[in-house]
Amino acid sequence: MSGDTGIISLLKSVPHNGMLKVQLKHTVGVDRAGWSRRESGGELMLTRLSDGNPVPDRPTIHIERYATQAELLLRLSELSGQPDLPLETGASPFLRRFWEYLELASTATNKILVLPPDPVEFFAMPTVAEELKVALASAHIDPDAATADLLNQFRLPPSLAAQSIGSLSGGERALVALAKAHALSEEYDGLVMASPTTWVYPERRDMITAVADRYVQLQKSVWILLLDGQWPEIDGCAAHTPHLISTSAIPWRLILSDLDVTYPGRAYPTAIPTKVIRYRSDTPSLDLDSPTLVLGDNGVGKSTLALVLAGVLAPAKGSVDILSSGASGKARILMQNAYHQLFGMTPHEHINYAFRYDTRGLGTTHETMQELENSLQRSLTGFVHEVSKRDSSGHLASLLHGKAALAAERLTERPSLLILDEPSWGLSHRLAHTFVAEVITAAHARGVPVAVISHEWQWAKTLLRSALHLTHGSEDYVVLNRCEVPE
């Protein structure tokens, strides 16, 4: 028997304490709670231990590992009792599944708190303080003091309380989501965290386990759903042999001049201070080699700098420019959540939409997309599921392909810099590494330098040639420095 779908349907039909013997032709990222798994000699033995009730008698931390985002979201929807939002590509499927979500009555027999893959979907209130105060409200304690304690416990600055959720970085939102989950630990029967390490800086991952331990202490179970390689220290995923690329480095220059970027605040009804990020550098320009790693702590301002380079955000003061040979103009960016950038139900549709007045560009982009798909196929031989999945109209459709379509579209324009902001979001270690490697190859072939924003550089250190480090300096400045790619 072969194929993921067959295994998943078989799993559901196996009775309690039944055994299932499967001969595998490729790795299957199925690792469900309540199964005992043993592999030997190409055979997989799965023993079903429980009846699949998501709340077993003894509180447990379940670490579940999946090969693709689709499987992870399926499991997430099973645990939460809701259809997964959003879906693979495009806005329309989200809207259609939203209708199914509306139809579902809230009849979950167990109250499970779900931290979604994108923490922005976890928040209902406009500011951090309001979010935490409402979470703490039912505890009938002093919410102001409790909020300050909670922020301190998660090593977040007290000034963050007044910030709006929209102005936080992805990492800050993830940490605030963990703080909220901690505050709600007495109200729920369990906790599910989906890909929590995607956003959180490695030095702060102890907070994820701290929240999990809190729930277990209260006799509640926790599920941590990971994609392969997202947390190698605990998920037992075998190290992936890095994919080497053979392109030479492309030099490029970042020219910075007293750059200030402002997220506006307000005074009323709750005061939100204006957030100003002041970027400075010891030298007026920084010479870097593509592919470049952009690294820094959560909330230091990596994504904000990328948005300014791409022209999406306008600086309040100063300027930043890019000099690179063979390419010109503004940078283009692939955002963390690629779903936000796709205009269409499939990658194919997105490309046709973006180039509907540009037949030359349309042809070029389709060629680039085909080139990326072919190279992904070659690199991921045996990983059939992700690379060959097709939608109802026959076009390749998955998050990986969505990201590839966005990259192909951007490369057609030959921007001065292609920025990949946390490209591993929604992709396993292996897929992310392969995707980034192939995009770098395609970009360098077109003379376009690439910058990768990531705190998970360990998987990418074989790819990258230089690093741009953002750190908090004196007088609230964010200091940019060139450094070598860390080991």
């Binding site: 005074a267 180039f355 540009d358």
Partner: protein, 253 residues
């Protein structure tokens, strides 16, 4: 103004909006002169802007005004075109009145949209939910005296429904201006598509047709984006308020 009780705050905001319902509340203070009436209404508009700016900050004020300006431009351009086209077909005896009507719509949009965004942002949903939790709201207090569990729970659900609606309106006011920023990523020159190697036009009709086609596509895509972002708040708000309701239902009363 933050410490003002919400009832007083509501009264102040309502009185600020009264001239939008009846413009004579502003013009009655000036002599009966058309120029002075226009200046009085202009002064009211600037006063509203100043109040909003002092409370929310200049950046927020300008983002509200920019949304209103986009709508004004769309209304005026389309309105003027429709009026001229209709004038070719029928004899419009009320053209001057229509011009004045169009100008009054411009004025109304430039005042009312920033005010509407400001109004919905002036009340804290978190504060409301905290008061409901503490049982200090008027309706939860009333619920204690009401016999019958069904009516009691209806009275408790009422402020939760108000909280849901208010938060949704605030969310719409939050996402609407920044969606213009999303537009900039795809249309950096703000009026033409990013990729247009074969954008050649052979004449005015071709130009209008192409631009019209692009405008229609861009608006429809933007409308889909608006729906996606508008509905995204629903699961989180539903979770938040349901949790509140469960705690209230389980609490002894």
């Amino acid at each position: 103004m933050r410490r003002i009780p919400w009832v007083l705050r509501l009264a102040i905001l309502a009185s600020l909006a009264a001239p939008l319902l009846d413009s004579t509340l502003v013009t009655r203070w000036v002599p009966d002169n058309p120029w002075l009436r226009v200046e009085a209404m202009f002064a009211y508009m600037v006063a509203i802007w100043i109040i909003i700016g002092l409370n929310t900050g200049l950046d927020k004020l300008f983002s509200f005004i920019s949304v209103a300006a986009v709508m004004v431009i769309a209304t005026v351009i389309v309105g003027a075109i429709v009026q001229d086209v209709l004038g070719l077909v029928i004899d419009l005896t009320g053209v001057a009145a229509t011009d004045e009507h169009l100008v009054s719509i411009v004025y109304m949009l430039m005042v009312s949209l920033p005010y509407a965004f400001f109004f919905v942002s002036s009340f804290s949903v978190a504060g409301l939910l905290q008061r409901v939790h503490a049982g200090s709201g008027a309706l939860p207090r009333l619920a204690r005296w009401v016999p019958g569990r069904r009516l009691k729970m209806k009275l408790i659900r009422a402020p939760l429904r108000i909280a849901v609606c208010l938060r949704v309106f605030q969310h719409l006011a939050e996402i609407f201006p920044p969606l213009l920023t999303v537009w900039r990523e795809e249309h950096p020159l703000a009026i033409l598509p990013r990729n247009r190697s074969d954008w050649q036009v052979e004449g005015p009709i071709s130009a209008v047709a192409k631009l019209g086609n692009w405008v229609w596509n861009a608006l429809w895509t933007w409308a889909k984006c608006l729906l996606v972002f508008a509905f995204r708040i629903v699961p989180a708000v539903d979770d938040e308020v349901r949790r509140c309701y469960v705690k209230l239902r389980e609490a002894p009363r």
